[in-house]
């Protein structure tokens, strides 16, 4: 019973935190544009509003897909140890998280495909292509940890970095950290890599047919994705955290950096984005991997 409650509580916390980062990101983007911008809590208002409006759907697969989308990412979030707190005992296996997130994307893709809008299908095609771009460098970073510590457990990686900033992997493996940040940019769909939701080209791509609670679920899914992705970076490179506030602060910091950087660039075409991710993030990650493999013994 306690486990169910803690899972429930953790789920809501994850979504709430993700929405908060989104709100902060919107505010910062606005300030960089010299606008006043929406309040930080605007995303909460959006979600509540979305859920309280009537919506349209095309068939049951669309309903199912939208639900699968959010649940996949929530399941992935359950394996992120937030400052040594886990909703149920696990080691925080990175590979499992990397494979649970796609079920969310697959669900989302299935839902919007079932709407029959070609723009949505184009958007998903782009999103998956981009996914190939960032997953490969990110996987290489995971391999770097395997090379050095023979571990893919987030809990263990966090323990390894205990005892001061000089032990953080951000400091000990800076090249890998740079690669991870570039890959994270792609994961978050921030600006040079936002072809899949390009509003002016394909009318927001996957979101084109979503209304009411479907849009609300998509919002929550994105919020959860932000939590999971920034959480991975915080634990893998920024030393994890000793309490919840530290964890959230570090995540927010990572997201703020990403959100501000994203205002610097224009949009890549999808094949350019993929190539860029492979060439820049991929080669950086490869260098770090080879360094770590050489340093193993």
């Amino acid at each position: 019973m306690m486990e169910i409650l803690s899972v429930l509580g953790y789920s809501f916390f994850v979504m709430a935190a993700g929405l908060l980062y989104m709100g902060i990101g919107r505010k910062i983007a606005a300030r960089l544009h010299r606008r006043y911008g929406p309040p930080v809590w605007q995303c909460y208002i959006d979600v509540v509003k979305c859920f309280s409006r009537r919506s349209i759907s095309h068939n049951f697969i669309m309903d199912l897909g939208s639900m699968m989308g959010l649940s996949g990412l929530l399941a992935a979030a359950m394996f992120i140890p937030m400052a040594s707190f886990l909703p149920f005992p696990s080691q925080g296996p990175i590979i499992v998280i990397l494979y649970l997130m796609p079920i969310g994307y697959l669900g989302m893709a299935m839902g919007v495909s079932a709407s029959g809008n070609p723009l949505a299908a184009i958007g998903i095609g782009r999103a998956l292509t981009l996914m190939m771009g960032y997953e490969v460098p990110f996987a290489m970073i995971v391999l770097t940890f395997v090379a050095s510590f023979s571990s893919t457990s987030l809990v263990k990686l966090q323990e390894l970095q205990a005892g001061g900033i000089m032990n953080w992997h951000m400091v000990t493996m800076p090249i890998g950290f740079a690669a991870a940040l570039i890959a994270l940019m792609g994961m978050l769909g921030k600006k040079p890599f936002d072809t899949m939701i390009a509003p002016s080209e394909i009318a927001s791509g996957p979101m084109v047919e979503l209304s009411g609670k479907f849009l609300g679920l998509a919002f929550l899914q994105h919020a959860t994705a932000i939590f999971v992705e920034t959480g991975l970076i915080v634990i893998m490179f920024l030393g994890g955290a000793s309490n919840v506030f530290e964890f959230v602060a570090k995540q927010a910091l990572v997201y703020i950096v990403m959100a501000s950087l994203s205002e610097l660039w224009a949009r890549y075409r999808v094949e350019q984005a993929t190539k860029f991710l492979w060439i820049s993030a991929g080669s950086l990650a490869l260098v770090q991997l080879i360094v770590n493999m050489a340093g193993r013994k």
Binding site: S11, F51, Y99, L106, A121, G212
Partner: protein, 632 residues
């Protein structure tokens, strides 16, 4: 003669006999042939279940034929753990496919392949049980030519694909014969064990011989399992074969090479090995591992740009075989367990995917994806089978592909094969691309008015797909269903068992509880479902009632077919890889070899075709006759 002493032989003899017998009904009743086929396989499946845990068993038949320097030829069948597992799971999966075939082969779709397929199942048992080379090669050959005739099934295009397949099979069989003859000539025995032991003991004395034998065996199993240089036959043969047989071809038949590699190739690299090591693995196996990962990536790239659904899934099979090959090349307990586990998982989910596509083709007659679309609204069960199948194929929890793919990566991490693993992650991510394309183009998107009348697949087809779907789900939730028997069979290969139970498995860098991962996903789904219910009600609208920048599609003359975005789906990424895929084509290389062979054979034929052929022949015969007469 007591039949009880020859149970394993009966598993070969009965299907072959039933197959030959059912040829009689070729003109009368194809239905009866299919029923005989189903009965034969059901018998095998019942035997497999009944035989579970019966322990090792050896059966021998002595034939009064003197070969080489042996007085009599001994045919040996042995039932060992790993062979039994392969046999059991292949026949059970085939029995499920057979249920599908019963319904699929109606008046309009019937093919006359049932007798041949029945015989092929006899060969199937022979391959897994053989204890001597003669039975193994006989079974291997029987499998080769029956499958050739089945793939061809009397159609011109299929004939070409079948020929391509058969040519490669011949290369493989010749290599196998060569490896066997070298071994048999040196040991004087046809027993597989003694030949392998001989090879394994020669590392110090004659390493060149062992490497030659390993290379020959590798060629044999590479051609059968479609590993890199021979990766093209599935896309031709799987695509052109009868639809229900494609499931068998991709699910079951392609795994014979995997079985061969585990039981015949890996023993050569046992304790006696003293050659060079890379990351603690024999160099030869490390190269195989790299080829495996390359095959995985290469198959994925081909699958991404394929528009024909059966060809796409055939390339996907090649990619999966690449993963399996890498796992078994690690030559560790974890690697081999992962390879066998993924083999069985692939058998189940790929069969379910192929059967689902066969059901679509049964109802629509289309194979090209951009001509389909929206099938999910008409065939929901078939859609769910495909959906669960592709989730498994992508290696996503909570379906069965996840556990085995995770274990494969763990086996690579264990050996520190990190650079090949990059290709593995590339292939595994690329898999989402083509699998989603299949889901979208065939089942989702707009439903064409041409298919307005399409109905759900017939009951038997649903039943057979449904069983496979449940298996995908059950093994995904409880990996121990397969992993525990596999683990029990490991000691027999000389490997220490892994730490695992019904729910969880311990890898090299982490241990995971697969059941709890599945439960977490289902729990989150329940939570989201509640959220969905809390939200205000939704209303269903028609598919054409879509956002199109404020225009009504019908005013523009845009119909459902035009709104279905499916052709050239991944054009951007195809463009990136086009130079690579077009510039480096194994197909062209084989084409050149075939061309040169044709030239030589034409020259020889031209010589014989000259008007003087008769005179030359007579002259030659006269000379021979003279010689015989003179020297006799």
């Amino acid at each position: 003669m007591n039949f009880g002493d020859y149970l394993l032989f009966l598993n070969i003899a009965v299907p072959v006999a039933v197959g030959v017998f059912s040829l009689i009904f070729l003109r009368w009743s194809k239905k009866l042939q299919w029923i005989l086929f189903f009965a034969a396989i059901l018998a095998q499946a019942v035997f497999a279940v009944w035989f579970y845990n019966s322990g090792p068993r050896v059966e021998t038949i002595s034939l009064p034929i003197a070969v080489m320097n042996l007085n009599q030829l001994e045919l040996v069948m042995r039932n060992n753990g790993i062979g039994y597992l392969f046999f059991g799971i292949t026949v059970i999966v085939t029995a499920i496919i057979a249920v599908f075939s019963l319904s699929y082969n109606d008046k309009t779709h019937a093919t006359g392949i049932a007798p041949l397929w029945t015989m092929l199942m006899g060969a199937n048992a022979g391959i897994f049980f053989s204890g001597d080379w003669v039975s193994f090669i006989l079974a291997w050959e029987l499998m080769g030519w029956t499958s050739y005739f089945i793939i061809s099934h009397g159609k011109e295009r299929s004939g070409k694909a079948g020929m391509y397949y058969f040519t490669q099979s011949l290369i493989g069989t010749s290599a196998l014969l060569a490896a066997v003859f070298i071994g048999v000539a040196n040991t004087g025995s046809f027993a597989i064990k003694s030949t392998l032991n001989f090879y394994a003991s020669q590392w110090a004395a004659n390493p060149g011989l062992v490497i030659a034998a390993a290379l020959l065996l590798t060629i044999t199993f590479f051609t059968k399992s479609a590993v890199f240089p021979f990766f093209m036959w599935p896309s031709k043969a799987h695509a052109e074969a009868p639809d229900d047989f494609s499931a068998f071809l991709s699910g079951v038949m392609i795994k014979y090479g995997v079985f061969g590699m585990i039981t015949l190739l890996l023993p050569l690299f046992g304790a006696g090995y003293n050659g060079p090591l890379v990351f603690g693995t024999p160099l030869f196996l490390f190269i195989l591992g790299c080829i495996g990962m390359f095959t995985a990536a290469w198959g994925t790239l081909h699958a991404i740009r394929e528009n024909d659904m059966k060809k796409m899934m055939a390339h996907s099979t090649v990619s999966n075989i690449g993963f399996i090959l890498t796992a078994l090349s690690t030559n560790t307990a974890m690697g081999i367990a992962a390879a066998v586990f993924h083999t069985f998982n692939h058998m189940i989910f790929k069969s379910s995917i192929f059967l689902s596509m066969a059901a679509v083709k049964y109802r629509t007659g289309e194979r090209e994806m951009h001509k389909l679309g929206g099938m999910a609204y008409k065939m929901p069960v078939t859609f769910f089978v495909f959906l669960l199948g592709i989730i498994a194929a992508a290696g996503i929890p909570p379906m069965n592909g996840f556990g085995s793919k995770w274990l494969i990566f763990q086996a690579m991490f264990d050996k520190q094969w990190l650079l090949p693993a990059i290709l593995g992650f590339f292939a595994s991510t690329g898999a989402f691309l083509y699998l989603y394309r299949g889901l979208h183009s065939i089942y989702l998107g707009q439903l064409s008015p041409r298919f307005e009348h399409v109905k759900e697949a017939p009951v038997l087809q649903i039943v057979s797909q449904g069983i496979l779907m449940l298996a995908v789900f059950a093994i995904g939730l409880f990996p121990g269903i397969f992993l525990i028997p596999i683990n029990n069979a490991l000691p027999e290969l000389g490997l220490a068992p892994l730490t695992l139970d019904l729910y969880s498995v311990q890898g090299s860098t982490a241990s995971i509880d697969i059941t709890s991962i599945g439960l977490v996903f289902m729990g989150s789904f329940a939570l989201v479902f509640i959220l969905f219910l809390i939200g205000k009600k939704r209303r269903y609208v028609k598919m054409m009632d879509n956002y199109t920048s404020g225009e009504t599609p019908s005013d523009w003359g845009v119909n459902e077919d035009k709104l279905h975005y499916a052709y050239n789906f991944y054009e951007p990424i195809e463009k990136v890889f086009e130079p690579l895929l077009n510039g480096f084509s194994m197909e062209r290389l084989f084409g050149r070899i075939a061309h040169e062979a044709k030239r030589v054979s034409n020259a020889v034929r031209g010589w014989f075709n000259s008007p003087q052929t008769g005179i030359i022949l007579l002259a030659v015969l006269a000379v021979i006759a003279l010689a015989v007469w003179r020297f006799a």
